[in-house]
């Protein structure tokens, strides 16, 4: 369970959000509403001005207690809009990066399962520069999963793709449900959110305007 109660001043408005999330929660709202900022605050890439963030009982940020766990110790996976694969590493090394950094032992079973789930088998020896946009996003999802996160953030993972590529990735995102991994899915597309999320947190102008099920999508 993730609980978020934070405030942060941004250039054009003040972000002030409070919500709790288990399962798959969509942060839904128009572009520029502050959704990505919320994801960055949860991941530890940005620091709230004040408030509290906790995950499964562990406090990740608490301004009152002066706690701010750095991003690399939060074990929160993040799939970015643009993939952000490491251009100097092969797909296989990109996938292995989280395990390598965390000093985990090799887990061939997890590796094989995720490579199969995302159909990455033929891409392993390639470099990110030679991948299509859709392939890149699949590798990015696999890379985040193989770091064995406690929570997965997906920030508009389909935004940089055309309609055909979106249709290609969506089934993979639905398969993520099998992982039984809590997820935060950031999007402004109702049709994506409907297929993936159980809970919807609607954000507008930096504020939570509604929390509920997918019926909020209208």
């Amino acid at each position: 369970m993730l609980t978020v109660d934070v405030r942060r001043t941004l250039s054009d408005f003040t972000l002030d959000v409070r919500f709790a999330s288990g399962g798959t929660t969509a942060l839904f709202g128009p572009s520029g509403a502050g959704k990505t900022t919320v994801a960055n605050l949860v991941a530890g890439l940005m620091k709230p001005d004040d408030g509290r963030i906790a995950l499964d009982g562990e406090v990740l940020f608490d301004s009152a207690q002066g706690i701010n766990v750095p991003a690399h110790r939060r074990r929160i996976g993040y799939v970015f809009q643009e993939g952000r694969l490491f251009p100097h590493l092969t797909v296989a090394r990109n996938l292995d990066y989280g395990r390598w950094m965390n000093g985990h032992p090799r887990d061939e079973a997890a590796q094989e399962r995720i490579v199969a789930m995302l159909d990455l088998g033929t891409l392993l020896q390639r470099r990110p520069g030679k991948l299509s946009g859709g392939e890149r996003q699949r590798v990015a999802i696999g890379r985040a999963l193989l770091a064995k996160p406690r929570l997965l953030l997906l920030d508009e993972p389909l935004a940089s793709l055309d309609a055909a590529r979106k249709a290609e990735i969506l089934p993979y995102l639905e398969r993520l449900h099998q992982e039984a991994l809590p997820m935060i899915y950031v999007s402004h597309h109702p049709d994506e959110v409907r297929r993936i999320a159980d809970q919807v947190v609607r954000i507008d102008g930096g504020k939570v305007t509604a929390i509920g099920g997918i019926e909020l999508l209208g």
Binding site: A71, R74, Y78, H88
Partner: protein, 236 residues
Amino acid sequence: MTNAAPLLDLTPEEWTAIRLSLRIALTATASSLPFGIAVAWLLARKRFWGKGLLDGIIHLPLVLPPVVTGYLLLIAFGRKGVIGAFLAEFGIVFAFRWTGAALACAVMSFPLLVRPLRLSFESIDRRLEDAASTLGASPLKVFFTVTLPLAVPGLIAGTLLGFAKALGEFGATITFVSNIPGETQTISAAIYTLTQIPAGDAAAARLVMVAIVIALIALIASEWLSRRAGQRFHGE
């Protein structure tokens, strides 16, 4: 190729100057590289008090007359210099030693080493570093697994420029550690000496050839390394 044989028939003294030049330039480049990386990273990434001053000091050897830089080194690192006297107590002596020549070359080549590295660091997409941290990489690991590998083109360019400058450095070196055969007499200093004596032309010509060959090899090597680094980033 009958003309080439006597041309490449180098005397022991000339070989000594060549070996010494290479040793001095390699030592200067290798020992200034870690500092160069650190300074380039600081200048590219951090905002701190005195940043402009640091940037200026590093670039001073590029614009000062080399004799002035050599003289300042003599004042600071000479046996009676402020830093030199202190280091001498630990047995570290720069004055009139080949190590002093390496120090002079390192100082003179430092701005050329730092500049391409800094540009490389500045051009790296910092969002890749954020991605690495969400995958569990501490800031130090991010630096060594993402930042530095992506700065390899700048590292190669800076190292080559620095090495070439160190190899050719003359003014600051001769001012600081003089022109002692076998200790501080580099190729450049040897050529200078040979031009001062009536029968030195042939020997000077041989050393000039050697200087050109070394410079060409360094250029080709750097070109080859850069291309390989480029292929790693963009190719299969």
